[in-house]
């Protein structure tokens, strides 16, 4: 059981760094939501920054890959994303097509490299 939970310190960190920072915004939305215009300029900026942060996370995983992904060469990871994007656009913005083609390119490439 202890290996399932891991150490309690890590769980405490999860609450401080993960749970609280998210729930704050949800509860603020619940409390003050009534008075805010969804299309206000502030929220346009907030959405743009949030989107760019998400893009940064995507880039981080591809550029500085964690664990097992680090064994795949840089150019192959980038090719996988590029191929997935082409498929995504060709299939009228199908998320599914993009993910499948990206995966096929990376796995086939890595298999072929040995």
């Amino acid at each position: 059981m202890s290996s399932f939970i891991g150490d309690w310190h890590a769980l405490a960190i999860l609450f401080v760094a993960g749970v609280i920072p998210n729930q704050i915004w949800r509860m603020l939305g619940l409390w003050f939501g009534g008075g805010i215009d969804e299309n206000s300029e502030l929220l346009v900026w907030v959405r743009a920054v949030a989107t760019a942060i998400l893009a940064g996370i995507i880039a981080q995983i591809v550029v500085q890959p964690p664990g097992g992904l680090a064994s795949v060469p840089d150019w192959l990871r980038y090719s996988s994303v590029a191929a997935g994007f082409v498929a995504f656009m060709l299939a009228r913005k199908s998320i599914f097509a993009g993910v499948i083609i990206g995966e096929v390119v990376m796995i086939a490439g890595k298999y072929w490299l040995g």
Binding site: L11, A50, L54, G56, G67
Partner: protein
Amino acid sequence: MALPPLDSPQWQTSFRAFLWGARSIGATVLTLVLFATYLGIGALAHDSGFSLGWTLASTAFVWAGPAQIIVITTLGSGATVLQSAIAVTVSAIRLFPMVVSVLPLMRTEQTKRRHLILVAHLTAVTLWVECYRFLPQVPRNRRIAFIHGLGLGLVSICLIANTIGYTLAANLTPLLAAGMLMLTPLAFLFSTARNCRELADVIALVLGLLLFPLAAMLNSGVDILVSGVVAGTIAYAVHRARAGIVRARA
């Protein structure tokens, strides 16, 4: 799967509405995308040295894929708790407009604020998108129950995906384990690209991708925050400038 008509007896009890909500997870491709994302998060958590219980707790209590990935990658790569918390707080701001825009869809005159707490917790990008799609087909007084069913159904799917991803990462060949880790960036990239509604969103996405490698050279511990705020602000400035040009022409 089609929902029953608005005047159907199927909507007479909240419990039935809850079940219709839970069944609706089968009616959307986003469930599949979410499954793939959380499969990837399970694998990522495993490779970054977190326990399975920790991973499941993060899904149940954080319930925001990007935030979970920031916590896992920043803490996994040696950032301090404070740096990680700041990056997550900024990334989570986007939940605020989502909650603000979703709650009026299900409020009635009898609705108290406490009835909406679980809905607010379940609100994340997938649920937010699905609210606009499903709720017009649900009677107003049953919408909260329906969303509880849909949201808790999605959480359950993701907990299962986490467990499978975590277990597989430990046992798969290196080739397939790498493939599973790659699911997260691919699924996020294309679902974000699909959600881009305005030019500002597109610029923020593209610049955010391009600026991160530059920001990473700073090695500040909050690189994602730096590239995010810079790219997002430039995107907003372009949006403003463009709105100004349109107004000047008119």
